[in-house]
């Protein structure tokens, strides 16, 4: 029994040091009003920063909306591009396949800001800078490879036999896709969407270059505060930003579980 206790204590200690301790000053700082060194707990608790962030005329909700809108459009485009691509890469062997894979997965290795800085002047000429469309286009290449990868994993466990069977039972191409392929790919799509949203939300540099400060996402709004602004407001924004990312992932997870529960209920009834 003793080693098990040792493992449990060590794990708890690791969780405390890595997962809880780092957030304590962030939370305290967001509730502080002039937090004097060396007090561990601020002398007075104030909701001033939260009031400013959530209800003040600080454009928070607009930034949240813009961030989520961009992440959503990027993710939808990614799904539309990635499903056929993943199908081709998993189910076929053809000439030049390695090159196709290299092209699609290149943005994982080569930092996307290199491409964005290069294309900046061209975007400027086309009138795409300072627009949400431009930022969406800039966010596509850093996110698409992860979406393709996630859907490829789902395709690997989907046998062609299933679709053939559906075809034998008289299902046309549309119903084969919506009733057989799509439900099987769904976990992969959700995993890819989570990554795509997370990466899009946390972009700072490429949003800043293409948006030129006019497309204000949460990371653009946050930056001036965390690089030497009011620490209480910076902390409140940071918590909001982190919370938003976590809630989006959590929400997708819950949706997927609900979908499976519903499906189970339907099949049980049938």
């Amino acid at each position: 029994m003793k080693p098990q206790l040792f493992i449990k204590i060590s794990l708890s200690l690791l969780v405390f040091l890595l997962m809880f301790l780092p957030f304590i000053p962030l939370i305290l700082s967001s509730l502080s009003f002039g937090w004097q060194w060396p007090a561990i707990i601020p002398d007075s608790i104030s909701f001033r920063a939260w009031d400013y962030v959530l209800f003040g005329s600080s454009g928070t909700w607009q930034a949240v909306g813009v961030s989520l809108l961009i992440a959503l459009i990027v993710t939808i485009i990614n799904i539309l591009l990635a499903v056929p691509a993943a199908n081709a890469l998993v189910r076929n062997s053809f000439r030049g396949k390695w090159l196709m894979e290299a092209i699609i997965f290149a943005p994982i290795i080569i930092p996307p800001f290199v491409a964005v800085m290069g294309i900046h002047l061209t975007f400027l000429k086309l009138g795409l800078t300072e627009t949400i469309v431009g930022v969406v286009l800039a966010h596509l290449s850093p996110t698409l490879p992860y979406m393709v990868r996630a859907i490829m994993i789902s395709y690997q466990t989907l046998s062609v036999d299933w679709e053939d069977q559906a075809r034998m039972l008289g299902a046309g191409p549309v119903s084969r896709f919506t009733l057989v392929v799509l439900p099987h790919l769904l976990p992969g799509i959700v995993a890819g969407a989570s990554l795509s949203i997370l990466i899009s939300l946390s972009q700072y540099l490429i949003t800043f270059i293409i948006g030129s400060g006019q497309v204000v996402t949460l990371s653009i709004l946050l930056f001036p505060f965390i690089s030497g602004g009011d620490p209480a407001i910076a902390s409140a924004y940071s918590l909001l930003f982190a919370g938003m990312a976590i809630m989006t992932l959590f929400g997708l997870d819950v949706l997927l579980k609900k979908y499976y529960q519903q499906k189970k209920a339907v099949t049980n009834k049938g």
């Binding site: 794990l11 196709m100 080569i110 930092p111 290199v114 800085m117 290069g118 946050l222």
Partner: protein
């Protein structure tokens, strides 16, 4: 005809997007790094930007800093990530898998935190008047703010290293844990029959098994920290700065003459990551690293 061209047609939208937006951008940047600005009536190619860069001490210092930060970050993340993965694995083994998934999920938390927020968390913890300095003072280790070491916005890059070690360790454990969980529980029993202690078992079985995936994951973290912008921008100093920050400083300096140099830094950075990427690919192919074994 249709059957033969089908995969290409299915791939066309995705490939087209990446080629146009990503490789187009790389190529565009490459031309401009050679001084080709048709809009400014500069249509000849030259290597002035590269020559200037290689001559400036700022570039070399920036390169050294970038390599040092990337090396130390991936090293610390690798050690911490392996510790987490091994503890998770031992936890799963001793409880037969029940409730170990909760632990597993808890450790993924830093992965979901945006990089800027992760950097700010490190600022609040480690700056000279930060949380750890307050704790140290109350415990009587130090008496004045200046006694606490400068770990944030320091020229060595400790703040950047700490942020990446914290944020990337869960990534490393996430990459090696699946390999570890393929170790059958009967192997532990067999090793016990041969008289191996728990530590022998970890050293002789667990570590060799996770070695390939561990190497790959560490390499990936190295490539990422080598080319990332946000954290060094927030936690570094203006001089010397890491290569991505240096490129950004040149790009936004205001004079158009610096832009080819910024893009030249980018091209060097990109070539370096491609080189590292090829190493990762070769190692993975040789060892089948991310699966463990067949």
């Amino acid at each position: 005809m249709w059957q033969k061209n089908k995969p290409y047609l299915l791939l066309f939208p995705a490939i087209g997007t990446i080629v146009l937006l990503f490789f187009g951008g790389l190529f565009d940047g490459f031309l401009k790094s050679l001084g080709y600005f048709p809009a400014l009536d500069q249509k000849d190619f030259n290597f002035t930007a590269y020559r200037e860069l290689f001559r400036s001490s700022e570039f070399w210092e920036s390169l050294i800093l970038t390599l040092r930060v990337a090396f130390l970050s991936s090293l610390f993340a690798a050690v911490l990530g392996a510790i987490i993965a091994i503890f998770l694995f031992m936890m799963k083994e001793s409880t037969n898998g029940s409730n170990s998934s909760i632990w597993y999920r808890l450790f993924q938390l830093p992965l979901t935190i945006p990089h800027l927020v992760g950097g700010y968390i490190i600022v609040l913890l480690f700056m000279q008047s930060g949380f750890l300095s307050r704790i140290a003072t109350n415990l009587g280790f130090i008496e004045t703010i200046s006694e606490f070491p400068v770990l944030v916005n320091d020229s060595f890059g400790w703040g950047i290293i700490l942020t990446y070690a914290w944020k990337e360790a869960p990534f490393i454990s996430l990459m090696i844990y699946p390999v570890l969980s393929r170790i059958h529980s009967s192997w532990r029993d067999v090793s016990r029959v041969f008289g191996a202690s728990r530590w022998n078992y970890v050293r002789e079985i667990v570590i060799p098994v996770m070695m390939p995936a561990w190497t790959i994951a560490t390499f990936i973290v190295f490539v990422f920290t080598f080319s990332a912008f946000e954290v060094p921008f927030l936690l570094g100093v203006t001089y010397p700065s890491t290569l991505p920050v240096y490129s950004y400083q040149l790009y936004t300096s205001g004079t158009l003459a610096d832009r080819p140099e910024a893009l030249a830094v980018n091209i060097i950075l990109a070539s370096f990551t491609v080189l590292l990427g090829l190493v990762v690919y070769a190692v993975n192919k040789r060892w089948n690293a991310l699966k463990g074994w067949d």
